[in-house]
Assembly symmetry: C2
Homo-oligomer: 396 residues x 2
């Protein structure tokens, strides 16, 4: 999509939200018009917290986003309790259309019989995915979450070829024996982020199986999805404008740098997101893919903004460091611990576990660490890792 079209869509959307009290307060009383992407990048960012409070009825009984055009109210858990996700009839149809396109890009055809084991109630995903399959023209059995035995029986009996569900559930099914699943859409839990998981699942399901990862927010689904070439998760650019920002300064970062994903809805009518901070860290890249899309989240979601630390002026993400251990056995991910001083902003200690990493591996890791983080550890310690679940320890 050309920059001119993007600008037009952004302006149309800014015009539309000029009637929303939430955005009026942030963008000004009159409709904002922008002349360039640079202009757009000057607009205020929207924090999840502020959005959730407004959506969750602090301003009016149902929040300032509630209006008569809404037909569907999904709910999503938040710190404020279950908060609403609103959709108009056009939104429902647009989301179905976009899902249909990305499902087709992933290899689904009209001949496929698909099931989803996502929940259809309260939360958005189940129905929206279902509607995407129907819009494509595939045949969908709305199975919903349930026991694997019944699901396996239905897959077998119906010759189901496409499964949309939790990867752990798919793995269970594969181990109990299912055949003919050509495309697996993984949703609802980490997938690519877990080392070797995707390959292990493919091995269990058959080497021809296409494994598709998707990324979404309850307020914005679909967001990004892999295609059958598995080159990363593509952004649907006609529906979303996506930026990556420095989570501290808020400056927009160029493609190729890791930062916080920020999203703007280009068409959504109810509760649209404008420069909405997802809190998720990722890197964008533009390179043409065989499926026709080009803007891609490379290397999956790299953690949450909250996990970022700053040492000697350099941003450090534990997920980024963990990724350095990709060539080691999976247990190696627990083999390091970062010690950061709460008072001195310049102390970074690295503890390595010799019971997991060989001496050679430790040396390699330290070299990679220096290369990747630009900074060198103030101190390297050796010994047991006290808590394998966290890689951070604040000292002082």
């Amino acid at each position: 999509m050309g920059e001119q079209t993007t600008l037009e869509k952004l302006n149309r959307q800014l015009q539309r939200v000029s009637g929303e009290p939430f955005y009026q307060q942030r963008l000004g009383q009159t409709a904002v018009q922008i002349n360039s992407i640079a202009d757009f990048e000057q607009l205020p960012l929207v924090e999840q917290g502020a959005f959730a409070v407004d959506a969750y009825a602090e301003t009016t009984p149902r929040g300032s986003f509630y209006n008569e055009e809404i037909v569907r109210i999904n709910l999503t858990p938040s710190a404020q309790g279950l908060r609403p996700v609103y959709l108009t009839r056009n939104d429902v149809q647009n989301v179905a259309k976009i899902n249909a396109e990305t499902l087709r890009d992933a290899g689904v055809t009209e001949q496929d019989i698909a099931i989803t084991t996502l929940s259809y109630s309260l939360f958005p995903a189940g129905m929206m995915i279902h509607e995407g399959f129907e819009a494509l023209g595939a045949k969908m059995i709305p199975v919903g979450p349930g026991d694997s035995e019944r699901t396996r029986a239905l897959i077998e009996q119906w010759g189901v070829t496409v499964l949309y569900g939790n990867p752990s559930f798919a793995l269970k099914l594969a181990e109990e024996g299912i055949e003919n699943i050509r495309v697996l859409f993984a949703g609802g839990e980490p997938f690519s982020a877990i080392d070797g998981y995707k390959d292990g699942l493919r091995q269990k399901m058959g080497s021809d199986t296409v494994l598709i990862e998707s990324y979404g927010l309850a307020e914005c689904t679909p967001f990004a999805r892999e295609c059958r070439f598995e080159t990363g998760m593509h952004i649907v650019e006609e529906w979303l404008y996506v930026e990556v920002i420095d989570p501290i300064t808020g400056d927009v970062l160029p493609h190729g740098q890791v930062g916080e994903l920020v999203v703007t809805h280009l068409e959504k009518e109810a509760m649209p997101l404008i420069r909405y901070r997802t809190g998720d860290l990722a890197m964008l890249e533009r390179s043409p893919c065989g499926c026709g899309r080009s803007l891609t989240i490379k290397g999956g979601i790299r953690g949450r903004v909250g996990s970022m630390k700053k040492v000697k002026g350099v941003k450090v993400y534990p997920e980024q460091i963990r990724a350095l251990l990709d060539d080691y056995p999976p247990t190696a991910k627990r083999a390091f611990e970062l010690h950061i001083s709460a008072s001195q902003k310049s102390y970074l200690g690295l503890r390595l576990d010799g019971s997991v990493l060989t001496e050679e591996q430790q040396t390699t890791f330290v070299q990679q660490f220096k290369k990747a983080l630009v900074i060198v550890p103030s101190e390297i310690l050796y010994g047991d890792i006290t808590d394998p679940k966290t890689h951070w320890k604040e000292i002082d």
Copy 2:
């Protein structure tokens, strides 16, 4: 809808199903054309069993109704296991449109916030009802089945005004305290058929609450629904052609007589029903209602065909006799037993339980019995009722 339009629609539908092997076998190899309703009434009736076997993959792996236009496969329990209900994209949209119209007739508006506690997975009802509310433009929270505490909290928090769910669940909610429900759609379990239930529920929910009963089959939903005038369940005549037949001879009965409901889809594309025997007993009446519809199922569903007995050439339904006890306390429904001779087609014994019915009530009941059934009991016995759940005992 005029007879000419009905004829045109019936002919279009007969033309459409001429490609379905199932109907080809029954109606002939070439497309059947009819010149009158009388012609239509000569076409073969379709038995549930034969339909289920065909739908359930005896002929081809997915039954002869399976085709490329299908987008949704719902399942429904049957003697043959879970069998499919197919819908094309047009079917999905048409069902949503009809549901929207009948929900509007029942008093739902765009301003309403509705929830349904029906299941969205596997079975057809939940999603179809949801889509009906969305097509109308009302706001729907897809709650699904679950604990009454959460449902009650959502009703309160959102100011929910319309509830579509099991009446027993609604009663539970009402007893725990809910306000503002203007319209209750009862589904999933008996309602009007249970004496005093509807009135009791209305009392609990507030006397202004509209209580709507619907009738449907998994293969054909919606079928009939009450409107806000509560004059009986109206047939959506532009979508369905409904007959009442003598369950033994198969002859079409005039309006005002109780018999088996037989249904023909006028527009459905996937797995359409043509003269399909529902197995349910009811009476049709045509009288204009304030909502604009006129063809109505009066007095609810009166039982299943299997429960009918023939004595002295007269059809006897236990549900019909049970209804005679409407003026007595509910326990009185268990106060009679009919004895029928398996060998002699002319013996009908009536046993009355004096521990439940007073002598006066027994006398009244016998009088009403004679009046309603035309025939008189060969014998009237007095004493305990052995099995309160069944009202029939075959003797000899």
